[in-house]
Amino acid sequence: MSPATLCVDPVTQEIIEGKLMATVDEMGIVMARTSMSPVIYEVLDFACGLLTAEGELVAQMNGITLFTGTFGVQVKALIAKFAGNLFDGDILLSNDPYAGGTHACDFAIVKPLFAEGRIVAYAINVAHYLDVGGSVPGSLAPNATSVFQEGLRLPGVKVVRSDVFSDEILNIISENVRLPEIALGDLNAQVATVRVAARRMAELSSKYGITTVQAAFANLLDTSEKRSRAAISLLPDGCYEATDIIDGDGVSATPIVVTVAVTIAGDSIAADFTGCPPAVAGPINCARGALQSAVKTIIKAMVGPQAPSNEGWFRPLTVIAPSGTIFTAEKPSPTGWYYEGSVHASELVWKALAPLMPSRFSAGSYSSLCVVYISGTDKSGQPFIHIEPQHGGWGGSEHRDGANAVIALTDGDTYNYSVEVIEARFPLRVKRYGFNVEGGAGAGRRRGGFGIVREYEILSKDASAYGSFGRTSTLPWGMDGGGSGTANVLQITPADQGEPQSYGRVAHIDLKSGDLLRVVTGGGGGWGDAQQREPGLIEQDLQNGFLTEAEASALYGYERRIAG
């Protein structure tokens, strides 16, 4: 009997689903607390999941949206590669962007989970490594023109055989990355998480039997698919288009026009990216796996945002795109900053669908993670790398102003970095961390949320920075007559009081002690006509310093009565 035709009683089903979530959560707790690299422990740039024996995602921890759709593609690629050659106690490692991955910095650790002598599931942990070699510290040269500048690639190797680490692989890693102690520490943490998953799945299999467990997986996927189709059926059939502009690729500032046509037909949905330009020279390309993920993120937001994610939700979805485009890059196109490209694929679908279901969408946001790398040597001559994604303003929605300073769509449960912790660790002093009120946010009946300003004084004699900021000239879009949001920018004011220099995607900035590095993220777009904004809300913004009287007058036509 095939699992799909086997019935699991609703009680056992609920218990197994609860156990799956408990397992991926447990993997996440172990990872966050034991990893060595700040990218993982402070900003939680990792995710864990469980998949069926066929490589379909059944459970995923709350982590970041970038990995929404990549796990299945990665595991399926590994299944194809290792067919018949996987044994209990093996653990695989892959960081190949083109085999479903994202960029070389993301190390996927995959463990086949055995019961009764056969594979019943896979556990996966993908985490962003601080450095994987390549042309610059942190491995993400914003002006890379080929994947060979982006560090070591291990496209599917057995890092553990029969529960024993492969010394050869560990050696290759430690000789090819800049901070081997951190990399191997993270690898240890990742392996610990998939081993936790193996123990939990073994408990489940021995209690309920593998036939029941696999049938429960099938039910879970089928049920999610049904709910997804039901939600899509409520939307009017039709073709919905959107276009957007990506502000440069890191090699040139030339605007890149991208487009989508989303078709809803009955209970199915298709997103067609035909017409998008070929892969660009710089590293903001993404491979097909990341495109899938980008579209799935928005579909999930629309059909069932709070329900646990699994592959079933995405069965009604088809993603169409010819190979070799900016969203379907192939070897050797660089993909280091792939999320700077893939976020635009998400936003295109978002923009196309937002008018159909205002209850689930908001206007455009600051979008770009605005990641900055600051590296150099500290007082004791030790090298340091500080990597930080930045939080920013989100768009207004039908009933509420946009959110201030939360992380971009591509991440998720991603924390900002504590100022006190930074200053204890790096030769940096933070001069300001607050809302970017002076930059403003999109006006509207419901205005956009505010971005942030974060200012670093450099205390190291010998430092440099690089980064890749999107939405530096094409602003977050307003909805339903709301105003556009505001721009992201990276500014450097030299210590000798020169004029501040502005940057977007920049490969290298020399820094010296006393220089000021200023990260500014934009405000989100507004929703609805600004002239209809209620005076009470305008007064509140005036009181809280979110608006000046001049702005109130110019944007909202509001004249403040003199307080008595």
Binding site: P10, R33, V196, P305, F361, S397, A403, E423, A424
Partner: protein, 685 residues
């Protein structure tokens, strides 16, 4: 003389009194009075006076746990609070950590801060991470702030300056000036409530502390006045979230330490039960009306949560606060949890609860939805006539009718649907119990399982069996166990401070000096003189170089590098399953736990009775499809004899709970009346 505890819960205020001379224990209950909880406390005292002849002038110790603090926060009914902070950082409180745990919600917002932007003021000043002054405090900046606070009728001011954990001098100076200028406002500086780094978490801690301080102060003053009027004058203690008690004055100085006051009472009680039966590893579970709470006692001491977050859920970031809170995992499965079939056709239990009004269907107060309590009644564990000592007659027919609403769609018989409800609640409790044990590196097989709460003992033995615990233990008075636990708590204070050092002989010498300094603070805190009988426990948070989060490790102040290293490796391996033998080790936080040795509740010996005196009858209980209905003997707990062994299946009844013992389990009764249930076929080691 009498030791008295009162625990204010969501619905009832529980009272437990213990007469130290006679060993007699008496209990009372009143309805919680929401607006002024002291009224309900006085009602409970009045009940005890009428029922058991409590004489308030005989009370020599009074412990109190309540929800005033947590209610003021969750209902946002604190006072009008301002924040004074380092120039450039007034938005830190509102930005929080900026995370979006509700990943796919495109309308996500961070939680609202407790001080709006226009009441957050900036002052020029700056320290570096080592506490060195970079920019002196600009006193002129305080003048306009004082004027604004006066104009805005500010009742409390919180102060946070960056790196004040390393050097509090600017906060002290600022607090002094504000206290002089704003005599009617409470002034609270962050270093007084937390010496740990991370500016958002510490800001939130000091803000919430300031926000509730005047409220708890008024409440305790009111309570003290009322108690005095009733001739109840003795030292008054408040139950703290760390499992210990403090004087009312100490609690007012640091009200956030009361945030999980009630649940911590239960944990203190479970630790006391562990001591009574000679067990230092205790897994505790308290099943209330709306939720179940579990916690682990390790080495005889409650475990503390290192990152406590109020109102935190899977999809809500919550409010992080840096106060010592017993590590409690709470899930939405309690006696009143409602069972329903969701849109996927799957059976769900909780987190919605029928509460006490209308309550479960079987209460007959208009509740129509099936709850966990209805299921337990339907399978025969509860007796409709004797439930709650006969004070509340349960309606079995109404319970069945409610369960029928889900049995039909599931295609199950009513008793099987009841079993299904219990199974779902059981599974989520198991997940939570594993979270506090297995997932934190502790093996439930090493622990005894102490179960309390109204519905807890009915579910306990199945849970204990699934977890393979050493034994399942039902304490005396399981239905009012939090109040009982408050009589088991001792005065306690935790001193935790961020201190950064690479492990070396010198660092350990410095650590020892710093611990001495914390000990001096502890002696001053208890104000019982230099020779006070204080138990100190030393812990450090340490990590491998490069890690951010550390592991708390028990240490001794005179540890050498080798001894320290081995303790840390072992703790890391326990928590995370691996050790890095060659990695450098860093210390990040010191934690001194100080407990003032005091008298705690003793467990009086029970009287021997005839071995069959306790048997009151038989009742049919449904054990699921394969076993079916089985006739179980029913015993009255109060008549059980010390040293008695009874094989399951069987039932033990008492006023506040009903215990079900499974087949192949045996119940034993200790000489102090604690029920211990073990498997009959205990496997060899």
């Amino acid at each position: 003389m009498i030791r008295l505890a009162t625990d204010v819960g969501g619905t009832f205020t529980d009272l437990v009194g213990y007469d130290e001379r006679s060993g007699e224990l008496f209990t009372a209950k009143s309805l919680t009075t929401v607006d002024d909880q002291s009224l309900g406390v006085l009602d409970a005292i009045a009940v005890a006076e009428a029922k058991d002849g409590l004489r308030t002038r005989d009370v020599t110790f009074f412990a109190h746990g309540g929800t005033t603090v947590i209610n003021a926060i969750t209902e946002r009914k604190g006072v009008r609070t301002a924040l004074v902070t380092t120039a450039g950082f007034r938005d830190v409180l509102e930005i929080g950590r900026g995370n979006r745990p509700d990943l796919y919600n495109l309308q996500f917002h961070s939680p609202e801060p407790f001080v709006p932007r226009h009441l957050r003021f900036e002052v020029r000043e700056r320290l570096d991470a080592s506490g060195q002054v970079i920019v002196p405090l600009e006193l002129d900046d305080l003048r306009p702030i004082i004027a604004r606070c006066q104009a805005e009728d500010i009742e409390a001011v919180a102060i946070l300056f960056l790196h004040s954990y390393a050097n509090p001098e600017h906060e002290i100076l600022c607090a002094g000036i504000l206290a002089d200028a704003l005599p009617f406002a409470t002034i609270c500086a962050s270093h007084e409530v937390s010496r740990q780094w991370r500016e958002y978490e510490r800001t939130n801690t000091v803000v919430l502390n300031a926000y509730v301080q005047p409220i708890i102060q008024n409440y305790f003053e009111q309570l003290k006045r009322s108690l005095t009027r009733r001739n109840l004058t003795c030292p008054y203690y408040a139950m703290q979230s760390n499992g210990g008690i403090s004087t009312f004055d100490q609690a007012v100085a640091s009200p956030l330490t009361l945030v999980e006051s009630g649940p911590a009472g239960g944990v203190a009680g479970a630790a006391r039960i562990g001591t009574a039966i000679g067990e230092s590893e205790v897994l505790s579970l308290d099943v209330g009306g709306t939720t179940a709470k579990c916690s682990l006692i390790h080495g005889g001491r409650p475990t503390l949560n290192v990152e406590y977050r109020l109102e935190h859920t899977r999809i809500a970031p919550g409010h992080a606060i840096q106060v010592p809170v017993v590590d409690i995992v709470e899930i939405g499965s309690g006696g009143g949890s409602i069972a329903r079939i969701d849109d996927r056709g799957v059976l769900i239990v909780g987190p919605q609860s029928a509460g006490s009004s209308p309550g479960p269907a079987c209460y007959g107060r208009g509740g129509l939805k099936p709850t966990l309590s209805d299921a337990i009644l339907t399978i025969g564990v509860f007796d409709p006539a004797t439930f709650a000592g006969g004070s509340l007659h349960l309606d079995k027919q109404k319970a069945k009718e409610a369960i029928a609403t889900i049995a039909g769609p599931l295609g199950l018989a009513i008793e099987d649907a009841a079993i299904a409800i219990i199974e779902i609640a059981h599974a989520s409790m198991i997940n939570a119990l594993k979270l506090v044990t297995v997932q934190r590196g502790h093996d439930p097989r090493d622990a005894v399982f102490v179960v309390s709460g109204g519905a807890g003992p009915a579910l306990a033995t199945r849970l204990g069996r699934d977890l393979s615990v050493k034994a399942t233990v039902i304490p005396p008075h399981p239905g009012i166990f939090s109040a009982w636990g408050m009589l088991a708590a001792e005065p306690r204070a935790d001193f935790r401070s961020t201190w950064f050092a690479a492990l070396s002989t010198q660092a350990l010498a410095d650590m020892s000096v710093r611990f001495k300094g914390l000990e001096t603070e502890a002696v001053a805190y208890f104000a019982k003189g230099e020779d006070a009988d204080i138990r100190f426990t030393y812990q450090v948070e340490a990590r491998y170089r490069g890690q951010e989060h550390g592991v708390f490790t028990h240490v001794e102040p005179d540890d050498d590098v080798r001894g320290f290293t081995e303790r840390f490796h072992a703790a890391h391996e326990r928590a995370y399953s691996f050790r890095l033998a060659d990695a450098a080790i860093e210390i990040t936080t010191l934690h001194l736990e100080a407990v003032l040795n005091g008298a705690v509740i003793a467990l009086p010996k029970i009287e021997p009775t005839g071995s069959s005196a306790a048997l009151t009858g038989h009742r049919n209980v449904y054990f699921g499809g394969t076993r079916g209905w089985i006739s179980c003997p029913v015993y009255a707990r109060g008549l059980l004899a010390p040293g008695q062994f009874i094989e399951g299946p069987m039932i033990v009844e008492e006023a506040t709970a009903t215990t079900l013992v499974q087949e192949n389990q045996v119940l034993s009764v200790t000489d102090t009346g604690i029920l211990i249930i073990r498997e009959t076929s205990v496997e060899a080691e």
